[in-house]
């Protein structure tokens, strides 16, 4: 190694030592300053999270950084020494995403550490401008890297939460209920597009298979509007039920819906329909009686 390179390496090591000492000896001071910075930035959301929990998360993050810095690493957060702090930051991001913190509030959590460390450095190296400058540079770089990592984790956590919510909403939007022995009911609310109709069909077929029911009532009273596309989707759904050897009754076909369909020249050809759920259920019970009588003959 050339002399100049050696000198640069020595200087870097000396700067690292300054930060390592600071994190090692002044953890309490940094934690106090960090909490203060978070409060000043308005990211201590007492309506969402307790101060105690925030303090613990901040303390764990500092402990993780301390491990990495003590191992002589401040440059490469991909290194093994950063595993502890990264695990903790991932936990923080997931918790923030779950508690509905905003992206900027999440970013503030880690970026406010920068100012806390700077304050601590200033207190300690007030008269050593070289040490102060070196410490600030290293801290900036480290916190920026950790900030990016935190934000990535937060985005991923939000994406996972959104997927979970979508799946819950999807399950809630197609609830198959057993309302009578051998009779299922599925109320449809909102719009029916091809993706939704696939979900409805899957839910209905799965429900019929699982419960071994004979009849399913498809209540469309809550469907926002019926056009040719929606009518086609409904026909496909009822066709699928018929293919399973079961019966489908479409209830909630109100006068308003009938008029709209007639005006559009649409028909629910071959599908048993009823204007209300009550009438649909009565129709289902009559059909069930007939099916049971036929099954006795078989």
């Amino acid at each position: 190694m050339s002399q100049s390179k050696q000198e640069a390496q020595d200087a870097h090591n000396a700067q690292m030592q300054i930060i390592a000492d600071l994190f090692n000896k002044d953890t309490d001071i940094i934690l106090k300053l960090w909490m203060k910075q978070q409060a000043a930035a308005g990211s201590l959301r007492s309506d969402l999270i307790s101060e105690e929990e925030m303090r613990q998360m901040s303390f764990d993050t500092l402990a993780g950084i301390n491990i990495a810095v003590s191992a002589g690493n401040m440059d490469d957060i991909e290194a093994e020494a950063f595993d502890a702090v990264k695990t903790n930051l991932k936990k923080v991001s997931e918790r923030y995403a779950m508690l509905d913190f905003s992206p900027s509030e999440t970013a503030t959590f880690i970026f406010s550490l920068k100012e806390a460390v700077m304050d601590a450095l200033q207190q300690q190296y007030e008269n050593d401008t070289d040490a102060l400058f070196s410490g600030l540079m290293l801290t900036n770089k480290l916190v920026d890297s950790l900030g990016l990592y935190t934000f990535e984790c937060f985005a991923e956590a939000q994406k996972a939460l959104l997927a979970e919510q979508m799946s819950t909403m999807s399950a809630m939007s197609t609830p198959v209920m057993q309302i009578w022995k051998d009779i299922l009911m599925i109320p449809i609310v909102g719009t029916v597009d091809s993706a939704r109709s696939q979900e409805i069909m899957d839910a209905m077929l799965e429900g019929l298979e699982r419960t071994d029911s004979e009849i399913i009532l498809l209540d469309i009273q809550g469907v926002a509007s019926i056009d040719s596309a929606v009518a086609n989707h409904l026909l496909k759904i009822t066709k699928a039920v018929t293919m399973m050897g079961c019966h489908c009754i479409v209830s909630g076909v109100t006068s308003h819906v009938a008029q709209a369909m007639a005006n559009l020249g649409l028909e629910l050809g071959g599908v048993n329909s009823a204007p209300t759920l009550r009438k649909g259920l009565r129709m289902a019970l009559a059909s069930l009686k007939e099916i049971n009588a036929q099954n006795v003959d078989v």
Partner: protein
């Protein structure tokens, strides 16, 4: 492929049990055997039992559709029994015309439907 075990006569109807895993070519052979039987046997109808079928390949489903059409062209009523949810979804996507077919959960009910049709 031997088709003897797959064809049976029940209450005057010819019941065709489609195995869990069958290729499109084998199904084509099977349908030829079924059509030959229909030429010489006097049956009330044909029940295609799909209870075991798990394959949902397009080619197979199209062969199945063709088989049902050929049976109906011969003037013999056909019914399909025991379709599973996955198979139904695949058939609906293929938009196969099922208007002239009867569907039942199980073979006895399918036979009854054929007789009362």
């Amino acid at each position: 492929m031997h088709h003897n075990g797959l064809l049976s006569r029940l209450q005057g109807a010819l019941v065709v049990d489609i195995p869990a895993s069958i290729s499109s070519d084998d199904l084509m052979e099977l349908s030829a055997t079924v059509l030959q039987r229909l030429e010489f046997d006097d049956v009330a109808g044909v029940v295609i039992n799909l209870q075991q079928l798990r394959v949902t390949e397009t080619a197979l489903l199209q062969t199945l559709d063709k088989m049902l059409s050929m049976i109906q062209i011969m003037g013999v009523p056909a019914a399909v029994a025991g379709m599973q949810a996955g198979l139904i979804t695949a058939l609906v996507h293929l938009d196969i015309n099922t208007d002239r077919l009867c569907f039942a959960k199980a073979v006895p009910r399918a036979i009854q439907m054929l007789k009362s049709a």
